[in-house]
């Protein structure tokens, strides 16, 4: 971490801690991808966040939490999948589940620009997993079609759906897992 730029200011200072309201005594500056970021912390929060322990400390983490004002309009949002709230995020500094990124889209998107080099992924894609997913999505849809067709006594459609299901099933690769 940027020890050289960690300035302990022991003089009276009007700045307030970014994490709580106490007077800030530790001021950090870091340059991430040519953007300057500043964080002001009180002694307690600096200790708690491990600012003195360079291996455990991430300024990005701090920026992240500091940017989460409890008064933002998304403050009442909950993740449907895992029940996570914005105050949980502020407390843990981590999200609850992958679906949280949908639920807290409004909070995440503005952060990404300061946190990362860009806002869109351009790297590796889990090709096999995505192919598998598209097959499963297709199957789910066909099964729905089948039920619907039977219900409304469209037997020709039902037969077509059934044929297609058995066809798609043959292309299914090994069984994937997730702890749902």
């Amino acid at each position: 971490m940027v020890r050289a730029e960690l300035i302990k200011n022991l003089m009276a200072n009007p700045l307030k801690c970014d994490l709580c309201a106490k007077p800030a005594t530790v001021h950090l500056t870091q340059i991430v991808s040519n953007k300057v970021h500043k964080v002001d912390l009180c002694e307690t929060c600096a200790q708690a966040k491990g600012v003195t322990d360079p291996s455990g400390f991430s300024l990005a983490d701090l920026l992240l939490k500091a940017s989460l004002n409890p008064d933002t309009p998304t403050a009442g949002v909950r993740c449907e999948q895992c029940g996570f709230t914005q105050s949980d995020f502020k407390k843990h500094g981590r999200f609850g589940c992958p679906t949280c990124y949908e639920a807290f889209k409004g909070v995440v998107e503005p952060m990404l620009d300061t946190m990362h080099k860009g806002t869109t992924h351009t790297g590796k894609i889990p090709q096999r997993a995505l192919e598998r997913k598209s097959i499963y999505d297709r199957l789910t849809k066909l099964e729905l079609d089948l039920t619907e067709a039977i219900k409304s006594e469209r037997y020709e459609d039902a037969a077509r759906a059934r044929d297609e299901i058995s066809q798609v099933k043959q292309t299914v690769p090994s069984n994937p897992k997730s702890a749902r």
Binding site: E5, G96, P98, H121
Partner: protein, 363 residues
């Protein structure tokens, strides 16, 4: 494979003498991966963590690099065993402190390790001795793709791999190199380097200590951001930064030799004397002395073959390894005695310094 046999077997880090290079000790890449539709480890209920652990351990064990691996839960490891794995960079401190439902799978050669339920469901890591970013990437992406056959990853086209912390989104990749930079430290240039490297979007950390006065002059340089660039671009950029740090270190060495070779060789010679004769050595002091011997090797004061011995000692002088070798637990003061004894015996048979070939310095 058991933890006892893993601890006692040669590892990529300490025994791959063939690929040892002067400045980059080790290359490491790690990827964070999570299961779709599943709460992240920090938010999952205990029973769910156990379920995630079971699924992931099984999937990891089924891949070919992980044949005959060590596959163990954190709960099954003793404090000392955890410390040894941390010192070998095979698990993180965070994982070693995990309460329950966490585990690790480590390949037989200790080049791969996969932590389960650390901050993310999976933290896949590959270690390669020397400067081998490309090789490390090829190895890790292969393991990652093999895991994809068994696991549904949380991924979106725009945000990439979804991680518990938004700072890891996108590639979820951290690529790093462990560098030995004694001349930059001696000539007080590390702070300048840290700042410059920061501006290029890379992070510098002392490996055995804090910031720019890391003991042993060993630093870890890694990418700061993970979203908006491909893995290849990040690696290329890191490679360029590392290359330029290497050049700076070599320049600094040359300058030190030009300015006052006697002073530099004096440091190396004294370090050798202390390692041969001292009776109390703290971990920090031992690191610094070993660092000077390593510099001596680069300057041809000692033969090249000794480099892997020093790299092994860097690890073996750590508290966990020291206590394991002595088969017991010792307080820090006792450890300093043991460490000195261990290094005395190691340096009793070490090749003596030869300063006559070293006048024109570089390796």
């Amino acid at each position: 494979m058991t933890i006892a046999s893993l601890i006692d077997s040669p590892s990529e880090l300490t025994d791959a003498a063939s690929s040892k290079t002067a400045i980059v000790l080790m290359t490491r890449i790690r990827l964070a991966r999570n299961l779709s539709g599943t709460a992240f480890p920090g938010w999952a209920k205990p029973a769910q963590r156990e379920e995630i652990l079971r699924i992931c351990r099984e999937a990891v064990a089924a891949t070919s690099p992980m044949k005959r691996s060590l596959n163990i839960t954190v709960g099954e490891l003793s404090e000392l065993e955890k410390q040894i794995l941390v010192e070998r960079h095979l698990i993180s401190r965070e994982l070693s402190g995990a309460k329950g439902g966490a585990g690790v799978v480590i390949s037989k050669d200790q080049a791969f390790s996969v932590m389960v339920n650390e901050e993310d469901h999976l933290r896949i890591q590959v270690l390669r001795s020397g400067f081998q970013l490309k090789k490390a990437w090829n190895a890790i992406t292969e393991l990652d793709s093999a895991l994809e056959d068994h696991l549904d990853y949380a991924f979106t086209p725009t945000l990439g791999y979804l991680t518990a912390c938004p700072t890891n989104l996108g590639t979820a990749m951290r690529a790093s190199a462990m560098m030995h930079l004694p001349a930059l430290v001696i000539s007080n240039q590390m702070e300048k380097v840290v700042r410059a490297v920061n501006q290029l979007g890379m992070v510098v950390r002392g490996l055995f200590g804090e910031g720019s006065d890391a003991s042993g002059s060993i630093f870890q340089i890694s990418n700061q951001t993970t979203l908006g660039e491909s893995e290849g671009e990040i690696i290329k950029r890191l490679h360029t930064v590392l290359q330029s740090i290497i050049e700076h270190e070599l320049n600094a060495r040359e300058k030190l030799l030009e300015a006052d070779a006697g002073k530099l060789f004096d440091k190396v010679g004294r370090a050798f004397g202390i390692l041969q004769n001292s009776h109390l050595l703290s971990s920090g002091e031992a690191m610094n002395l070993l660092s000077l011997i390593r510099l001596g090797i680069d300057l041809a004061v000692f033969p090249d073959a000794s480099r892997s011995v020093i790299d092994r000692l860097f690890i073996e002088a750590q508290p966990g390894h020291l206590q394991h070798a002595q088969k017991g637990e010792f307080d820090p003061a006792q450890r300093d005695l043991l460490r000195a004894a261990r290094l005395r015996s190691e340096f009793a048979n070490f090749v003596h310094p030869n300063f006559s070939f070293s006048t024109n310095g570089k390796n």
